[in-house]
């Protein structure tokens, strides 16, 4: 049986990758994917704990996260498309109308 710590380390690595990508990427799509990566890193730790402690609530929670992530993806991609239509770019540094 694979020990819990392995899952947690993997989950941490995934999350860290997500954070790093979120911070350094300029492209909105990449940032979006980094966010998904972070969510899934967290999901992994949820299911790992659920399996370890034989508790169903962790699994249930992951479904919720997936649902929210799907909804968010739909809204987010719609925003990205409309941004691209108006600004003709996906570089977040250039989407700075609200900044002084």
């Amino acid at each position: 049986m694979i020990p819990l710590s392995y899952y947690l380390v993997l989950s941490g690595i995934l999350f860290a990758c997500g954070v790093t990508g979120f911070l350094i990427k300029r492209n909105i799509i990449s940032i979006f994917m980094s966010i998904e990566l972070m969510l899934n890193g967290v999901n992994l730790s949820f299911v790992a704990f659920a399996a370890e402690w034989k508790a169903l609530s962790g699994q249930i929670f992951v479904f919720f996260v997936m649902v929210v992530a799907a909804a968010e993806a739909a809204v987010g991609l719609a925003i990205i498309i409309s941004v691209f239509r108006t600004r003709e770019t996906l570089n977040v540094d250039q989407v700075n109308l609200l900044k002084l």
């Binding site: 954070v19 979120f22 911070l23 977040v92 900044k99 002084l100």
Partner: protein
């Protein structure tokens, strides 16, 4: 059955007058302002006279409850009034002299700016003074005590645009504060030990106590602290310095507050607390010594002064010293008697001096006067009556009261021939400097600059200079009538002391407190053969008359006959003369000893040191630090979304690290 005297009306009436003039006076004409002031102070006088008619020894002490004020546990202080022979005498003196001075002020202040303000303050003073006199407990007395101090401050600084007047007011207020400090501590001691401030309760619980003959005890401390308060209010050594400066105020104020009434509050307070002093011979001795020294000391200064009001101011201090001497040898009625006659003749002296100053256009230097006898005859004759009265020449009022004090100083069980001797020397000096003033002002050649037109020239070109009249002229009738009334009182006022009538009238008040041992002493004294005592009294009386007459002749010689002599005498005395002329440098001494260190301490240590370097600097530096920190932290808010995310991530990482660290531990 005791009639209801409605004593509360007496102080309230002047207060209403003050309120009306103070609130609406600006819109009033001078006629209305003076009518309001006169009606209310006159009503107080009328009511006081009515009370005096209703009064009989049978109802004394008459007490009246007005309203409750402070109730804390067992402690109670009420607004209540207390009338006995002592407060009745004070009541009549204050309302009577006060009313006359109100009348006089109308003439004196007519040309002044702030007319309504003056009468508002004057009525306010009457209110507080009457509160002080009629109080039935020390706390209410203290209200009046502080209130008259306030009124005195306001009136000394009446011409507040003049720097010297403003600082004289402050000086009076601050010096009085030192005395009030002593008074307050005495009150605290009384509350602590007797649980009350009511005269009745305190005196009845003190009554059974014996005198504190050896060492010092509670009553001695209370007595001494009360004396500190009295020394402040009544200008005794060492707190007398404010009174000469207080002459910056308008002359009617000097007459009313700084001669006739307020400054005698200390004497009244000591007399009122006689039950305490009777049982504290140590405190009593201090009172007598302070009184004697002050009388002597102020008289010497009075000899050299050239400002007519300053002479009278030092004379007031000196006469107050006599009153304290009287109280200090447990002859309270003699002290109060002198208080009353002094109120007449010293009030008159100030008013007459004001009339002189008025006549010659604001000049106060006696060297610029002279020969005014024929030009202002009414002022001259009234002032003559007052001068003879204060000099102690029979049958004028001052003779009876002063002689009574001197006799008591000699013969009382608390007395001593030393007091008497200094008192007689002071009487000689008093007579000398008063006749010096008299001769300098009214005799010889006129030395001033005001032209002698000989008629009333009421062209008041501009108001800035006070009394900017034309030539030398007699004062208007509204000023002369009070002078004449007071002159009559100065002549006959002493006759009530004939055959000890006055003393017997006050006796019920003061006998109540006499201790058994003092009674025994008096009994022993009275067993002395009456003939011998009478002979000695006549002898002492003769000596004091001789002193008064001697002062007259010396003044006549120096300031009338041989005008060149004073210069030579002053010259031959050299340093002593300069010392006295400069008031023994007491003001300078106080300035160097107390004022300068205080100013240095408060400006260097408290202002620059603590306020600027600690409090201000603390505030400024913390604000500066906050600004600098925010200036640094501000850079986090770059507006760059990704850097925010970075901060969030860094924070999260920090939390994780912290938890790991916790876990390791």
């Amino acid at each position: 059955m005791t009639p209801n005297l409605h004593l509360w009306l007496i102080p309230i009436l002047p207060l209403i007058g003050a309120a009306i003039n103070g609130l609406f006076g600006k819109r009033f004409t001078r006629q209305i302002t003076s009518a309001v002031a006169l009606i209310f102070s006159g009503a107080a006088l009328a009511w006081a006279l009515w009370v005096a008619l209703q009064f009989s020894p049978a109802i004394a002490p008459y007490k009246e409850f007005f309203a409750s004020w402070i109730r804390a546990g067992d402690f109670r202080a009420d607004f209540a009034f207390y009338l006995d022979q002592l407060s009745l005498v004070m009541l009549l003196v204050v309302t009577g002299v006060g009313f006359l001075i109100h009348v006089y002020s109308i003439g004196y202040m007519w040309e002044e700016g702030g007319f309504y303000r003056f009468f508002c303050y004057l009525n306010l003073f009457m209110f507080f003074m009457l509160t002080l006199i009629l109080a039935a407990n020390y706390l209410q007395m203290f209200i009046g005590w502080e209130g008259v101090g306030l009124a005195s401050y306001l009136l000394i600084g009446f011409w507040f645009t003049k720097d010297s007047a403003a600082s004289a007011g402050k000086k009076a207020f601050i010096v009085n504060r030192i005395g009030d400090f002593g008074f307050l501590i005495a009150l605290f001691l009384l509350i602590k030990h007797f649980g009350s401030l009511n005269f009745d309760q305190i005196f009845s619980s003190i009554m059974p106590m014996g005198p504190e003959t050896q060492g010092s005890g509670l009553l001695t401390s209370i007595g001494l602290l009360l004396m500190v308060g009295a020394a402040g209010k009544s200008a005794q050594i060492p707190l007398y310095v404010w009174l000469p400066d207080a002459m910056e105020g308008p002359t009617p104020v000097s007459a009313l507050i700084h001669a006739a009434t307020m400054v005698t509050a200390g004497v009244y307070m000591v007399a009122r607390s006689h039950v305490i002093f009777d049982r504290a011979p140590g405190a009593l001795m201090v009172v007598a010594i302070i009184g004697t020294l002050t009388a002597f000391f102020a008289a010497t200064i009075g000899i050299t002064q050239t400002d007519i009001k300053k002479v009278l101011a030092y004379s007031t201090i000196s006469q107050l010293g006599y009153m304290f001497l009287g109280c200090g040898v447990a002859a309270y009625s003699a002290g109060v008697f002198h208080l009353m006659t002094h109120a007449f003749f010293k009030g008159l002296l100030f008013l007459a001096a004001g009339s002189v100053i008025h006549a010659i256009g604001g000049e106060q230097d006696m060297r610029q006067m002279g020969g005014l006898r024929t030009k202002i005859p009414w002022t001259f004759w009234t002032m003559t009556a007052a001068t003879f009265a204060i000099a102690g020449i029979p049958p004028f009022a001052g003779f009876f009261s002063k002689d009574e004090i001197l006799w008591q100083a000699y013969s009382s069980v608390h007395g001593s021939w030393v007091y008497w001797l200094i008192g007689v020397i002071t009487a000689f000096m008093t007579s000398f400097y008063m006749f010096r003033l008299w001769f300098l002002t009214f005799f010889g050649e006129y030395r001033g600059t005001a032209e002698s037109h000989g008629h009333d020239d009421h062209s008041h070109a501009g108001a800035p200079a006070p009394h900017g009249h034309g030539g030398i002229h007699e004062s208007p009738r509204v000023m002369l009538v009070p002078l004449v009334i007071l002159a009559v009182l100065s002549v006959i006022g002493g006759w009530v002391g004939y055959h000890n009538t006055f003393e017997n009238f006050l006796a019920p008040v003061f006998r109540a407190g006499v201790t058994t041992s003092a009674e025994a002493g008096q009994a022993a004294a009275s067993t002395e053969s009456h003939a011998e005592e009478g002979a000695r009294e006549s002898l002492l009386m003769g000596i004091s008359i001789a002193a008064a007459v001697g002062g007259f002749f010396l003044a006549w010689l120096l300031y009338h006959r041989r005008r060149d002599l004073p210069e030579k005498v002053a010259h031959s005395l050299g340093g002593l003369y300069t010392g006295v002329l400069n008031k023994y440098y007491i003001d300078e001494l106080y300035a160097a000893l107390f004022v300068a260190p205080l100013i240095r301490g408060s400006s260097k240590l408290l202002w620059r040191g603590i306020d600027q370097n600690v409090i201000d600097a603390g505030l400024d530096n913390s604000a500066e630090a906050a600004r600098e920190v925010s200036d640094t932290v501000r850079h986090m808010q770059s507006g760059n979304l990704r850097s925010y995310a970075g901060w969030v991530a860094a924070g999260a990482a920090g939390v994780v690290l912290y938890m790991i660290w916790i876990g390791i531990r």
